[in-house]
Symmetry: C2
Subunit: 231 residues, 2 copies
């Protein structure tokens, strides 16, 4: 790890608990529906929506707008009809208000003492900045698919981090709770750290946190990553 300079983080699921934050807010706004099911459907709509952008079916669209497209469809499908436009806009921005996992803020602060820490998320810049301010995530720099105009797993995003800081790909590590993200980063020459998030999809649903060969590090959480990087 001698030449490591930048640690870039996936955000949704890796640094913040989208399931917990979104499902609590859904339960409070629309107590009559199944918040668990709604939350998973909202998150589940995200990859296909980004795929439409990647394939060119949809022009470049920010995650805020993709979230809104999915939300409108789900409110209809779940029969939620009591929200006016301002309330819908507010609900859509729940993704700006996701709370951190218990280890995230301290783990990032420790890593920051030795490395440049940044986001590499498909979330838009405004969303990531709002979230960081609210949750106290001490990023040195917020980087997003929005800057590179490509969504992960496009190589332009991983290589874009290295290019932004004018370093070689192997001087950058991606930390993420998702194996496909890490695999794509590795193919670009980045170092990788898997972060275990067994509860990403809620407390009652399993999530594969088994080690996979190829990752440079397999960490229990972000504090463990800081420990392993001697921070």
């Amino acid at each position: 790890m001698d030449n490591l300079k930048i640690v870039a983080f996936d955000v949704f699921g890796t640094v913040v608990d989208w399931y917990g934050s979104v499902s609590r807010e859904i339960a409070s706004v629309a107590p009559q529906i199944d918040a668990d099911e709604f939350t998973l459907a909202w998150r589940g709509g995200y990859a296909p929506a980004m795929q439409k952008v990647a394939s060119g079916e949809l022009g470049w669209t920010l995650i805020d707008d993709l979230h809104r497209m999915i939300l409108d469809e789900l409110l209809d499908r779940f029969g939620v009809d009591g929200l006016d436009e301002a309330q819908t806009v507010h609900l859509n921005r729940v993704w700006h208000r996701l709370g951190p996992w218990p280890d995230s803020v301290e783990g990032l602060a420790r890593l920051k003492t030795r490395y440049t820490i940044c986001t590499l998320s498909n979330g838009n810049m405004g969303l990531l900045a709002d979230m960081a301010k609210r949750a106290g995530l001490p990023w040195d720099c917020i980087l997003s698919a929005e800057v590179f105009r490509k969504y992960k797993p496009d190589p332009a995003t991983y290589l874009g981090v290295a290019k932004t800081f004018d370093v070689a790909p192997e001087e950058v590590m991606l930390a993420a709770a998702h194996h496909d993200d890490l695999e794509a980063a590795r193919r670009c020459g980045l170092k990788t750290a898997f972060i275990e998030r067994p509860m990403e999809f809620g407390p009652n649903r399993g999530n594969d946190i088994s080690p996979r060969p190829g990752n440079d590090l397999h960490c229990r959480d972000i504090l463990d990553l800081a420990e392993r990087l001697s921070c």
Copy 2:
């Protein structure tokens, strides 16, 4: 100021003292030349170089690379020939190592308690992130011409800040030590605060810090801006 949400800062000259930082480093690296003259020439080459990008004569080029083009020419013109490539790269990155004015860090920290504070600089993202980390500038978000692929004073930069945070232009304030930057921001509907930096071009050279009509605020420094915005 009731609807103000975002305070965006010009950086070179407004938040950091480029003249002092660059001239000290030049004096140390090449004591035989006139550091004052070299520093002003280096900074002076910046606007014409950006103009070449704006006019299309040069494709999109980061400030790091523009700084290097100017530096190579100046090293030749001033007859500095003792630097190898690694030393020249390091010298060029002096712009990543600019020090803050004495009021900057505390002033920004105070503003951050109430507003989202970000950069709006023609400096590239990596440069601004390195500078912030080294100087302790507590940005909520680093925004740069690099993100918008236009240099200030292009309207896409000022309006880009509002768009990034999904707010109206009048909910954004630009704080800068340069009247032309503020005028361009005002034409886009942003609020503006002039920050006095009488020593921007060195201790022995005057700088126009007289109030101009049209700015919402005229401030002695960033602490004064915080005070005026009740932070």
